[in-house]
Symmetry: C2
Subunit: 303 residues, 2 copies
């Protein structure tokens, strides 16, 4: 088991691009208004426990919560600030969190977002393209000088509306992260083993299929692995769980600079541990300010 | 993926010792009286899909169901028949199958059972000691000339009442199969990873910890794996599921004559597939007469 305390002085970089947002989240148990959200927010904070993330994203002039990222020593030199309002999403979970409806999506400044990398960002070897439009994900990696490992998260919307861009993207990445429904949607294959094989043929060396409360599967062309999810007592808000998983996992990989099958398998447990904290409170509330021991303790309970 | 049809002509032997019984099983949904049960019954029938099991056990003169085993080409030359009644167990499941009470246990002929191996049995290299008193399991393997791979299943009762025999046994075996509660009971360790390490120190090269509906874990001193269980629509009778898992897995291993970590991992999926059929009906009802394709189809859904 890696020593997290020791890693604090290492601080390998990780490039994280994605959305930064204000979210209003309704659940059967309550509502949380204008909490900080967005794929890059969850992912970079999760990654910050293991490495130094550089957040590439955009916020509007109404965004007043930069200190969340600063406290986690996240490099914000790639976080553009523009006049206008921050991306806003309002969603409502129902049926025991199995479904969610989008009430509102206001793109706001995100409409004009084009990820633009500083020279220091272009040299980063480990890259997480958190969930945004695949055209923006492509635009990001086209600026990278010498990528060593690129992981991509995506969602049902892009599989439906931007399939061409996604297929272009998958040729250039090393790891595709997707959930079971999306894998089925993309491949028309209900058997996840077969779906993974179809996705591997599209280019990535590794595919992770997330199974929500049932954990996640890792595939390459030779083997497969399964990890469980940590059994949380009560889910309060599942928003960002997938982004947190991806961020924690990639942060761990960037910190160790090992990107082979076994390393990814280990890293998934760290991502899963962080995701389990994420869902126990609204938004980022429980994900910020964790200590290394609590993260470890849950990793030890994930198989 | 191995070709089951082709294997039908191979028929490697597997020695299976354990109990043959009549069971009366009560569940929240019904009762099944005097169905054929016992660890060796479930295990040898499950194994018969991949190899030729030799069943070492004992029945009373009231036992009229030998043809179940004969139909599955199980070698019965080691099945002793004695005057008196067959081992009888009456159990009642409650709380959604999470608990069961034993109403009656009548040892009958089993009280005087001493596994006695014919010369042909003594040369078998793959051995499954299905769940019986560890003294009888020890007595069995002491007669084996040149064992290549010995797997042992056990239960809470023996951990409580025959710990010394169990510890002697574990020094001589290659694979210990146990469930999560038993692992905790034996090691006083709630963390299954740590519990597995303690059990590995007792002698076996591999430890499998069964998790019921959550699948099973495989450990050796270097690595670990998890498989899921096939999600059955309705559990009718969980009796024998663990025996079926062990039998199917060992049958598969015996058929391939490979006993390394990766082979065991693959074999577990076959055991898990068979166990999923087992629980869908009372007793052996659904486990007998399966076709290779249905077993395969479920293996393909186990990760």
């Amino acid at each position: 088991m890696i020593n997290l305390a020791a890693m604090k002085t290492v601080k390998n970089p990780l490039l994280v691009t994605g959305s930064v947002a204000y979210d209003t989240v309704e659940t059967p148990n309550g509502i949380s208004k204008r909490q900080v959200g967005g794929s890059a927010s969850y992912a970079s904070i999760a990654a910050s426990y293991f490495c130094k993330p550089s957040l590439i994203g955009i916020i509007g002039e109404d965004f007043t919560e930069k200190q969340i990222f600063e406290t986690h020593q996240i490099d914000l030199s790639g976080l553009q600030s523009q006049s206008g309002k921050t991306f806003f999403w309002h969603g409502k979970y129902k049926n025991d969190f199995k479904e969610r409806d989008t009430i509102t999506t206001e793109l706001n400044v995100f409409e004009h977002f084009l990820p633009s990398l500083l020279p220091s960002h272009q040299k980063i070897e480990a890259i997480l393209l958190a969930n945004i439009h695949p055209a923006l994900q492509l635009h990001t990696i086209n600026q990278i000088v010498n990528p060593k490992f690129i992981a991509t998260d995506t969602m049902n919307l892009w599989i439906e509306t931007a399939r061409d861009n996604l297929e272009k993207l998958t040729k250039k990445i090393h790891l595709l992260i997707i959930n079971d429904e999306e894998a089925e949607q993309w491949t028309n294959e209900t058997n996840l083993r077969k779906a993974a094989n179809i996705l591997l043929e599209k280019g990535p060396e590794f595919v992770i299929i997330k199974l929500g409360p049932d954990g996640a599967l890792l595939f390459d062309n030779h083997q497969e692995r399964k990890i469980s999810a940590f059994p949380v007592n009560e889910v309060v808000d599942p928003t960002g769980a997938g982004d947190t998983f991806a961020g924690g996992m990639m942060g761990f990989l960037a910190a160790t600079s090992q990107f082979d099958f076994e390393s990814i398998y280990t890293a998934m447990k760290y991502g899963s541990s962080l995701a389990s904290f994420c869902v126990e409170q609204f938004g980022l509330k429980k994900l910020v300010g964790l200590d290394a021991n609590s993260i470890h303790r849950r990793v030890n309970r994930i198989f």
